[in-house]
């Protein structure tokens, strides 16, 4: 009987000729919905069919997360638009949501592990982690995070088995915080400005404007782009959410936003401050011309939680990212030898 009722509902929705609406109350309300399906972001959660005003996007250079694939969506409620910004993240109106599902391709099929939500409520952003059930039919709220054993094949064809960490709610904020308030990271002009993604948001009436000269970040693995631009894009998206003057690593004095120009703040000739054994016996974050003498490379190449950077969400070494930053440091002129 229940099944029949559900079928009738679906049929009606199909007849109406438009996808079902997102549950706005779940986003803006003062509750913590227990299931991902409670929000109605997808008319078909398993088949990942987005509801109205839910649009998928990707980042030109993404954060590395243990080779997981990420499916990102933006929702902006009807009658409202995101406000364009050339530098900072889009200013998203109350009722908006960012939806990011992490998973791996297994046996030719994307298997979702977790979905992280950023909900724009009246009081600010709320970050919530949802963990998918074994059947892959829905995800449940896990505020304390969890660990999931995962086996996958990396781009080099190597099989890897890791303990995949779903962040807890506080850890969401560790990365997504500016001066103590939760803030989105990736939804910036320069990271979305490719493949007509921003134009699509304009057409959907979800973004207020798009100047002709909207900036664009380099793709970290684009062989045609300049090495410096690729490295700086990689550092920004992987490190600068903490390593900025308002971020979790503000006390380090190491600031890695793509616009930063001061060489010492970027780590060039900068001594470690509170690195502990993260220094690996090296004197500087970046020793120009010498990746092996650079703390930055040492910490990227480690998976030891007392050494590894970033601190969260990385149980494997990103070989391709390390290779990029090695080449970048290698390309810097070596300092003149001390007299």
């Amino acid at each position: 009987m229940k099944a029949l009722a559900a079928a009738v509902l679906l049929f009606c929705a199909a007849l109406a000729g438009r996808p079902a609406a997102v549950n706005d109350a779940a986003i803006t309300g003062d509750t913590l919905p227990g299931k991902l399906s409670d929000y109605g972001f997808f008319t078909d959660l398993v088949g990942e069919t987005p509801a109205a005003r839910v649009i998928g996007y990707d980042l030109e250079t993404p954060l590395f997360s243990d080779y997981a694939a990420k499916h990102r969506y933006l929702y902006v409620p009807a009658g409202k638009t995101a406000r364009y910004d050339a530098e900072a993240a889009f200013d998203l109106p109350v009722g908006s949501a960012l939806i990011k599902t992490f998973g791996y391709r297994q046996a030719g099929k994307f298997r979702p592990l977790e979905t992280r939500l950023l909900l724009r409520r009246a009081g600010g952003w709320v970050a919530l982690p949802y963990v998918w059930n074994a059947e892959g039919t829905d995800a449940v709220l896990k505020r304390a995070g969890t660990r999931i054993p995962v086996t996958f094949t990396d781009p080099a064809g190597e099989a890897r088995t890791i303990s995949y960490a779903v962040p807890n709610q506080n850890q969401c904020k560790d990365c997504h915080a500016l001066s103590g308030a939760i803030a989105p990271i990736g939804i910036k002009t320069r990271y979305l400005n490719h493949n007509g993604q921003l134009e699509k948001l304009i057409v959907a009436d979800m973004l207020d404007r798009l100047p002709r000269d909207a900036p664009r970040i380099a793709r970290w693995d684009d062989p045609a782009a300049k090495l410096d631009d690729r490295a700086r894009a990689y550092l920004e998206i992987n490190c600068a959410h903490c390593h900025n003057p308002a971020g979790a690593a503000s006390n380090s004095g190491l600031f890695l936003e793509s616009g930063r120009r001061d060489p010492v703040a970027l780590g060039i000739g900068k001594r470690p401050v509170a690195a502990g054994r993260g220094s690996g016996g090296r004197d500087f974050a970046i020793q120009p011309g010498d990746p092996d003498a650079s703390v930055l490379i040492y910490r990227m190449e480690s998976t030891d939680p007392g050494i590894a950077m970033p601190e969260l969400g990385r149980a494997t070494v990103h070989q391709e990212g390390v290779a990029l930053l090695r080449a970048w440091i290698e390309s810097m002129p070596k300092p003149a030898p001390a007299r």
Binding site: A144, A165, N170, A275, G276, R277, E311
Partner: protein, 395 residues
């Protein structure tokens, strides 16, 4: 009158409103403990039961006005031998938090870190790396940073590969009644202002109590520090800090070390058995690129301290020869010779040795000679007075 009524009602209501959640040891401790920390309401207490909690990930607290209370530093033990992720054992990022009566053992990174956490109280806490001093131990035991108003009281830290108790880039700091041993630095106050460090025992570290100022950091210009009535004894642990960190340059046998800073007073301490020196005053001696940084110490007063044997095995290049030349022992107070002697005052009635080093010059260029440091007796900074609520929480 109505106003008084409101206040009375609030006072009457508050004990009932203060919620206590208890988490006992057992299966799924990670998730239960972390969930309690996330779901805590402002003003509530999380009690952690006696026993060992074996954890796989660092814990974190981001709710204001929460007390986390164990059954005692030898009874409630958060163990991180099997830690798989995150840099520290416990991270606090909210204000008015009280941490007391529990232990953190063997975290892969720092023990307990609090950042931007104002008015935090660390009381009767133990942080320990149980395998003894090792380079692979975490860096800091307790690590408040970028915060205003900090109380560390009755804390014990053993085995930190950097500093046992480290306070960085902060203001209004009290570190008292604590015991640090087997760390590289026992207590370190870095790039901070207004600190009182007193009634502590620092023994068996590489360096006992350090007051540092470092370049290229968001907060610089450390000073207004009083280090008084501590016991700083036998700090002769060979340095086991990973190279690259500033404390890796601290010679074994260091009692109290002041590097850069302004207006630091070392008063009435008991200093003995420190093989290099009981007190060292030095400039920041490494190369740096920061025009805003002031590398030399100013307005330093060392007075009323009781000196035991010191300087019998100086832990710097050429130290042995120097000690031999001076009859087997160098003076218990050392100054590197950089900066303005007239800004420094040592009135302990013991000799002082200047290394005669120019600012930034290598130790090989030292021209050691006795020196008298008779700078003005500038008044000591006013005592750091903490809010009554913090003192009450530390009772």
């Amino acid at each position: 009158m109505p106003r008084y009524w409101t206040l009375a009602a609030l006072l009457a209501a508050s004990p009932a409103a203060a919620q206590t959640v208890t988490v006992e040891a057992g299966p799924d401790a990670q998730e239960r403990l972390q969930a309690a920390l996330i779901e805590a309401k402002p003003g509530s207490t999380i009690r952690i039961g006696a026993g060992r909690f074996e954890l796989t990930d660092g814990l974190s607290l981001d709710v204001d006005r929460v007390t986390v209370r164990g059954a005692g530093p030898d009874k409630t033990i958060l163990g991180f031998k099997g830690q798989l992720g995150t840099g520290e054992g416990l991270l606090v990022t909210s204000d008015d938090v009280v941490l007391r009566d529990f232990a953190v053992e063997d975290s892969k990174g720092d023990g307990i870190k609090s950042k931007g956490a104002d008015r935090i109280v660390y009381k009767n806490i133990r942080v320990e790396w149980t395998g003894g001093p090792k380079e692979t131990n975490g860096a800091y035991g307790v690590y408040p940073v970028s915060s205003t108003t900090i109380l560390i009281d009755g804390v014990e830290v053993k085995g930190a590969s950097d500093a046992g108790i480290y306070v960085g880039q902060s203001e209004q700091i009290v570190v008292r009644n604590s015991k640090v041993s087997g760390n590289v630095a026992g207590i370190e106050i870095e790039n901070s202002r207004h600190a009182d460090v007193f009634h502590n025992l620092a023994t068996g570290n590489t360096g006992g109590i350090l007051v540092f100022d470092m370049p290229s950091l968001p907060k610089m210009g450390g000073g207004e520090v009083r280090v008084f009535e501590n016991k700083v004894i036998d700090n002769n642990q060979p340095n086991f800090a990973p190279k690259g960190n500033i404390v890796a340059t601290v010679p074994a046998g260091t009692g109290v070390l002041i590097m850069a800073n302004d207006n630091v007073h070392v008063l009435r301490n008991e200093l003995s058995g420190n093989a290099t020196a009981n007190v060292m005053i030095t400039a920041y001696r490494q190369s740096y690129d920061d025009p805003k940084f002031k590398p030399v110490p100013t307005r330093i007063v060392v007075s009323g301290n009781k000196h035991g044997r010191a300087g019998y095995a100086p832990g710097f290049p050429g130290g042995d020869q120097l000690a031999a030349a001076l009859g087997g022992m160098i003076p218990p107070v050392l100054w590197d010779g950089s900066g303005d002697a007239s800004s420094l005052r040592v009135s302990d009635g013991v000799p002082v040795l200047s290394m005669g080093l120019k600012q930034g010059a290598p130790i090989e260029t030292a021209k050691p000679a006795p020196v008298e440091l008779n700078g003005p007796a500038v008044p000591a900074p006013a005592a750091v007075v903490l809010p009554a609520a913090m003192e009450a929480a530390a009772k």
